[in-house]
């Protein structure tokens, strides 16, 4: 199944590896920060509701 990359195996695999790692990292960081911010804002608004109410 693996294509025959010959003497270019390092160049091709490194390119795909770096790309997939960078994109996975970007997606993970974005998701984690989104979740953290949503939770923090909900907590802050709930606290403010208690004060206002």
């Amino acid at each position: 199944m693996m294509p025959e990359l010959g003497k270019y195996a390092f160049a091709v695999l490194a390119s795909y590896g770096v790309t997939l790692a960078a994109l996975a990292g970007l997606v993970a960081v974005s998701l984690l920060r989104a979740r953290r911010m949503k939770r923090a804002l909900a907590a802050a608004e709930a606290g403010r509701g208690r004060i206002d109410g």
Binding site: P3, A11, V18, L23, V27, S30, K38, A44
Partner: protein, 243 residues
């Protein structure tokens, strides 16, 4: 119905919440199809051998590196002219994505260049303008972090974005302007012309480009919503501190 409705943060968050569950899986699917097609099911090039497979990530990443800056330019101008906060926050949200695409383009270009040109790096017009674009992305992100007042930060980063657009444009047209160096001109728009890209490469490349665009749309929506929430949280915390 006007596009300016989406300048309302609540409307933007609601719309992003409806669009994201469609765009995000679609991006993953199209990107997976394109990359698997490009990596496993394309023939070796008669000159470049298996390194031609790098094209399926290098070209979309490089295109997006420039186009994301273009999107940031448009949203920055909207901020400067109409003072819509969502617009400035969308530009801020897009910058790390564009920076990642630029890094990918530079890294895969180096991996491709070494066996084909005999060097990892050359001070070629396109490569150099891409490196400068990366520095602009880093500077843009640093400026947002460095300025405490968010509106002042939005103003200054918008100006930096306008200046950086010169280099984003140069990155795209450097090969045409100087007509020298190692990097070739684009072949993807040469369909129907002499020496076009073979359909065996062209079709999966287009799939990969669509995948990168969808990934960007999904990420920029998610990250803009996060920036809107971060801004709202900062306002609430400031009010709390004041009493």
């Amino acid at each position: 119905m006007s596009i300016w409705e989406y300048a309302n943060p609540k409307k933007f968050i609601a719309t992003a919440g409806a669009v994201l569950p469609i765009v995000a899986p679609l991006a993953a699917l199209v990107l997976a199809v394109g990359l698997i097609w490009g990596f496993f099911f394309t023939p070796d090039d008669y000159k470049q051998g298996a390194t031609v497979k790098i094209m399926f990530i290098h070209v979309p990443a490089a295109m997006m590196a420039i186009n994301v800056w273009g999107m940031m330019l448009v949203t920055s101008l909207v901020w400067l002219v109409r003072r819509h906060h969502v617009s400035a926050l969308a530009a801020r949200a897009a910058a790390p994505i564009g920076m990642t695409f630029t890094l990918i383009a530079l890294a895969t270009g180096a991996f491709w260049g070494q066996p084909m040109w005999g060097t990892w790096w050359e001070w070629d017009p396109r490569l150099t303008s891409f490196l400068i674009l990366l520095l602009f992305y880093l500077g843009y992100m640093a400026l947002w972090e460095a300025v405490e007042n968010p509106d002042t930060a939005a103003d200054l980063t918008a100006l930096l974005c306008i200046v950086g657009s010169v280099f984003a444009g140069l990155s795209r047209y450097a090969v045409k302007f100087w007509n020298q160096g190692l990097h070739q001109d684009s072949t993807i728009l040469k369909v129907g012309e002499k020496d076009p890209l073979d359909p065996a490469y062209y079709v999966p490349l287009v799939v990969c480009i669509i995948g990168f665009v969808l990934l960007f749309v999904a990420l920029v929506l998610l990250r803009t919503v996060t920036e809107i929430r971060a801004r709202r949280l900062a306002v609430l915390q400031a009010r709390e501190r004041l009493g």
